[in-house]
Amino acid sequence: MAFPRRWPVRRAALAFGLTAVLALLCCAGGTAAFLMTMYAAEEDNPYALTLGCGTEGRIDVNGELPLVPPFDAQQMRNAAIIINVGIELDVPPRGWVIAVATAIQESTLRNLGHLGAANDHDSLGLFQQRPSMGWGTPQQVRDPVYASTKFYEKLLTVPDWQRLPLTVAAQAVQVSAYPDAYAEHEPKAEAIVSALTGGAGRADGASVELSCADGADIAASGWTAPIPGTVGSGFRTASRPSHNGVDIAAAKGTRIRAAAAGKVIVARCDPDNRGRLSCDVDGYPGKGGCGWFVDILHADDVITRYCHMVRKPMVKQNDTVRAGQVIGLVGSSGNSSGPHLHFEVHLNRDRSSRGAIDPVPFMRARGAPFTAEG
């Protein structure tokens, strides 16, 4: 009659074992989950992410290359060849972005042969260079290394090419019938260059050293910080949910620079809450309005906005501006209690608050973060 005596023991052991396993699963799992979410939160935190500004050396074009949609492996390989030729020729990274953007426009990064009736004249290859215009033999211009070399050689002869708007620099080389077409490929070209080089799009565009763009430097992406200084009041914070930009404190009269090349689409005095156009005097909290301000339209339908200038902006509607060009001076006009720049970034050419995004990660991704040294 051992059974009646042994069962309770087994049951107790089983219960104990089960409880222990469940407790372990629940608690250890819970603890692990807790720690993992902490870790993930850190990973998701943009401030903890360190973005690179390029690694030195050529890209291995035969290795596996990262893909930047919508481009496929062959297109990425052609971009890598263009960048490698730039590295060989000691062209700083702004030149790589200009070259890749040009090739996207001319050939969508495909080494085009003769397209028959659809071909524009005798254009061939990544840059659609024309043998009849002295670019080389048909065989040569279809060689990606030769074509890229010819492109860079001509680019380097363009005065001040590093600081020209991308489309102006590209057109100076290509002399096409569509001089303003290259600009719209700048963001894609920057993304490709950064993906293939570990972030060279964020490097100082004019230096072969591949150092992160800093201060008034213009990154290879074509972007620069509008003023020196860090963000004091952020985008749509808990206490200011309708704050659609960032505030950067600066001394009155600090020069405000265009964050990238573009077209001034608005430059005026924003009326205050009572409809008055009184931007030449310092404003006050509750007055309403962004004072003297400028909106610039950039490639890819991005708009940047600069508010509270001390006096009438130095640019007017429909002016074309370069990255880093001074457009006005810091002030306190409109809804403001002291001199600062209120800076906004909008997407999809939408000037309303619906188009606004957080400028901090946007600018950091383009190698133009808000820093004290700015």
Binding site: C26, V175, A177, I265, N318, N335, S337
Partner: protein, 181 residues
Amino acid sequence: MRRVVEYLTTRVLRSRLGVALGIAVLVLGVVGVARVVAGSEEGRSPLPGGAVPPISTTDAEASDDGLSVVEEPSPWTSPGAPEPTEVARSFAEAWLRHDGVTAARWRDGLRPYATAELLDKLARVDPAGVPAERITGEPRTVPVNDSLVEVIVPVDTGELRLGVQAEEGRWRVDTVNWQRG
């Protein structure tokens, strides 16, 4: 002593209250351990570059120091002058007439519809490189402000996107962008 232990194991711990207490102890223990391991939230320094307390130059009460008026763009044409869409279409037709013309003749065709800046940008262009033959649809006009519109002209190889700009209500094409369809 033995009685106390016996009482605890047989009665208290088996009661619902006992089970609840046990679970509570476990949960508190896990949270506590996790807290210790992860470090306290308050103890951390603000993240570099992060948004920290609002600066004194702006008022938290006056929440939005942004734009008060977002005006709808309303392009204005001087009475009697052609509308921007019309100018863009005339320009596109002249731009497409590139077969067998000299560069000088091609630019002369564009001149009445183009700004001086655009003519400069096209100064050395060989019209043989114009990548399209004909207009294939109705132009679409997107206003940007009262003196700038974008006119998108469908062509056989894609789209011609023209930036048309007004000086005192007189429209001229200022930018030319062609994208493959």
